[in-house]
Amino acid sequence: MAKTKTAVLTAEQKAAKRAKTWTQIKRDRWMYLLLLPGFLFFLIFKIFPLWGILISFQEYYAGLSFFDARWIGFQNFVDFFVGADFLRLLKNTLIISFMNLIFYFPLPIILSLLLNEIKVQWYKKVLQTLVYVPHFVSWVVIASISFMILKTPAIMGNDAYTGGALFEIIKAISGKEVDLLENPSSIYWVLLFQAIWKETGWGTVIFLAALAGVDVEQYEAAIVDGATRWQQLIYITIPAILGTIVTMFVLRMGSVLDTGFEQIILMQNTLNQSASETFDTYVYNYGRVGGDYGHTTAIGLFKSIVSLTCIQLANRAAHAVGQAGLF
C-alpha cells in the first residue's frame, strides 16, 4: 500500500513532504537538544564498546596498542575451548546457576503466595518491610556479615573462644567444626543462601503486583460455589500469576551464565577458587588483573552469544506451551 503511494508521488509532493519533515524537525529542535546527552551516553558507553569485540580476534595484551596487536582469527576461542579451564568454568557456572534456579527461583513465588494470604494489611506491610531490607544492602555488607558469622574461632579447639554465630549453630547441630568459607564444596551453598537471603523478599514484588491484579469477584464466585482455599489457590491464584512466572523464567534462562560478579568475587579466596571461579570472575582475574585482553574478551563474547541463544530458546518454549513469554 505504502509502496504504491510513494510511486505515484510527484516531484512536487516529495518536495512538500521533505519540507514538512524539515519543519517538524525544526519545531522539535529543543526536544532533540534534550535527547542529546542521553543519546551520546548510549553511543559512547554502550555502542562503542561493541567495537572492542574485535579484540577477541587479536593477540592483545596490556601494554600493547590495539593497532599493534596481531590478528589471530578464532585462535582465542579455540584456545579457550580446548584449554583446561573451560570445562571447570562451565561446570562451576552451571552448578551455581542451576542451584539458584532449583532452590531460589520458586521461593519468591511461594513467599508471595503466603503473603497474599495475610489479610491483616498492616501486618502484611510490616512483613514486607522486613523481607525487602537485604535487597538494598550492598553485596560487600552481605559478604562481610557472612564472613563474620561463619568464621572459625580465633583459637581452634579452645572452648573459651567462639566462632561466628552461624558457625556455632552448625557446630551444635552437626557436632562438626566446618569452615564453610574455605571449603570448595560448601562455597556453593554459601552463595545460594546469600542469594536467597538477599533477593527472596524483593523477588516477591513482581508476583505481588500480579496477584493484586486478580479480580476479587472470581474468589467470591468460587466461595459461593464451595471452593476450598486450596482449590482457590490452584484454580484462580496460580493461573493468574503463571504468565509472570514464565516471563521471569525466560529472563532467568537468559542469564544462565551470569552468576553475579560482585557476590562471587567477594566470596572468592585461594582455597575455594577451584569451585568458585566462573566465567565472570575469570574474565576479571585474567583480563582486568592479568591483562590478557584478547583471550578474556573472547570469553565475554562467548557468554553473550550463549545468553542470547538461551533467552531465545526459553522464549520459544514459553510460546510452545501457550504463554506470552518475553517478546
Binding site: 529543543w30 542521553g38 531490607v133 554465630a165 565475554g300
Partner: protein
C-alpha cells in the same frame, strides 16, 4: 467479601501456620543485621566468647572511637567523603541524563525517536563486556578518576524507559496550553513536566543513590589509588584484614568489634533512606511500568 464464608477449624490452623512461618522468616532475614549492630557495641572479649547475642552485656562505644581514630580513622573518613561525593554527584548526573532523555523521547511523533529507542533496547541485550568497556574508560582518560565511577553508568536504560512512560502519560493539555503561551519545549520540561513528576524523580533518585553507595564493582575495576577508594572498598579491606593478608607485619589487626562497627556504618545510610524507598515503590511506580 469473606463474610459469606465461615472459617472452619482447618482454616484457622492454616492461617496460624502461615502467620507463624512468615513471621519467623522475616525475623531470620533481619536478625543478622541486628546481631552485627549489637556486636558493634560490645567489647572485643564479649564477641570472642559469646556466639550470639542481641544485647551486649557491657555496651561500649569503643569500637566507634577506634573506627574514627588513628590511621584507620583517616582511611574511613576519607572514604566516607568519597562515597558521599560520588553518591551526590553521581545521582545528580544520573537524574540529568535520565530525565532529559526520557522527556526527549516522550514526544510520540518525534522523527528518529524509534531509531533511538531501538538503540537503547539493543544495548539492554547486547553489550561489549567487561574488558572492552574497561579499555574505553582507560582510553578516555577516566581511569583512576571519580568520573569512571559515575559516567559509564549515567543512565540505566530500564529506569529511563519507565520515566519515559510516565512523561507520556502526563496530560497533554497542560503542555499545549504552555506552548500556546509561547513556552519552548525546554521551558515546558522545566516548568511543567518536572514539577509534576517529583515523586518519580524522588524514586529514581533514591534508587540511583543506593546504587552508588553500594557500588563495589566500579571502584574495583577503575580505581588504583587507595586514597580514592570509596567506603565499600575500605569496608571490605578492613573486614578481610587478617594475619596473612596484612601488608605490614607491624600494622595492628582490626578487632572484630571494629569490623562490626564498619559494617554498621556501611549499612546505616541505606536504613535511613529505606522508609522513603518503601513509600515510593509501594506506590507501584517500579512494577506498573514494566509492561510499557
Amino acid at each position: 467479601m469473606l463474610s459469606i464464608k465461615r472459617k472452619t477449624f482447618g482454616d484457622w490452623v492454616g492461617e496460624i501456620i502461615i502467620y507463624l512461618v512468615l513471621t519467623i522468616l522475616a525475623v531470620v532475614m533481619v536478625i543478622p543485621f541486628i546481631y552485627v549492630i549489637a556486636a558493634s557495641f560490645a567489647p572485643e572479649s564479649e564477641i570472642q566468647s559469646r556466639p550470639i547475642f542481641l544485647i551486649p552485656d557491657n555496651p561500649t562505644l569503643s569500637a566507634y572511637e577506634d573506627v574514627f581514630s588513628g590511621s584507620t580513622g583517616v582511611r574511613v573518613i576519607r572514604s566516607l567523603a568519597v562515597s558521599v561525593g560520588v553518591t551526590v554527584c553521581g545521582t545528580l548526573i544520573n537524574l540529568f541524563f535520565t530525565l532529559t532523555m526520557a522527556y526527549g523521547l516522550s514526544r510520540t511523533n518525534l522523527i528518529g525517536k524509534k531509531a533511538v529507542l531501538n538503540m537503547v533496547l539493543f544495548t539492554m541485550v547486547v553489550n561489549g563486556g567487561m574488558i572492552p568497556t574497561f579499555l574505553l574508560v582507560k582510553n578516555l582518560g577516566m581511569y583512576d578518576t571519580f568520573s569512571a565511577l559515575i559516567l559509564p553508568g549515567a543512565i540505566s536504560a530500564y529506569n529511563m524507559l519507565i520515566v519515559r512512560n510516565f512523561f507520556i502519560e502526563l496530560p497533554n493539555e497542560l503542555e499545549e496550553a504552555a506552548s500556546i503561551d509561547g513556552c519552548s519545549d525546554i521551558g515546558i520540561f522545566i516548568k511543567i513536566a518536572l514539577p509534576l513528576s517529583l515523586p518519580v524523580i524522588a524514586t529514581f533518585g533514591l534508587f540511583y543513590a543506593v546504587g552508588h553507595w553500594n557500588n563495589y564493582f566500579g571502584a574495583l575495576l577503575y580505581l588504583e589509588d587507595q586514597n580514592k577508594y570509596p567506603f565499600q572498598l575500605v569496608l571490605r579491606n578492613i573486614v578481610m584484614q587478617t594475619a596473612d593478608t596484612s601488608a605490614n607485619a607491624d600494622q595492628e589487626l582490626p578487632e572484630d568489634t571494629l569490623k562490626m562497627a564498619v559494617i554498621v556504618i556501611g549499612t546505616v545510610p541505606i536504613l535511613c533512606v529505606y522508609p522513603f524507598l518503601q513509600k515510593h515503590f509501594a506506590a507501584g511506580v517500579m512494577v506498573g511500568a514494566v509492561k510499557g
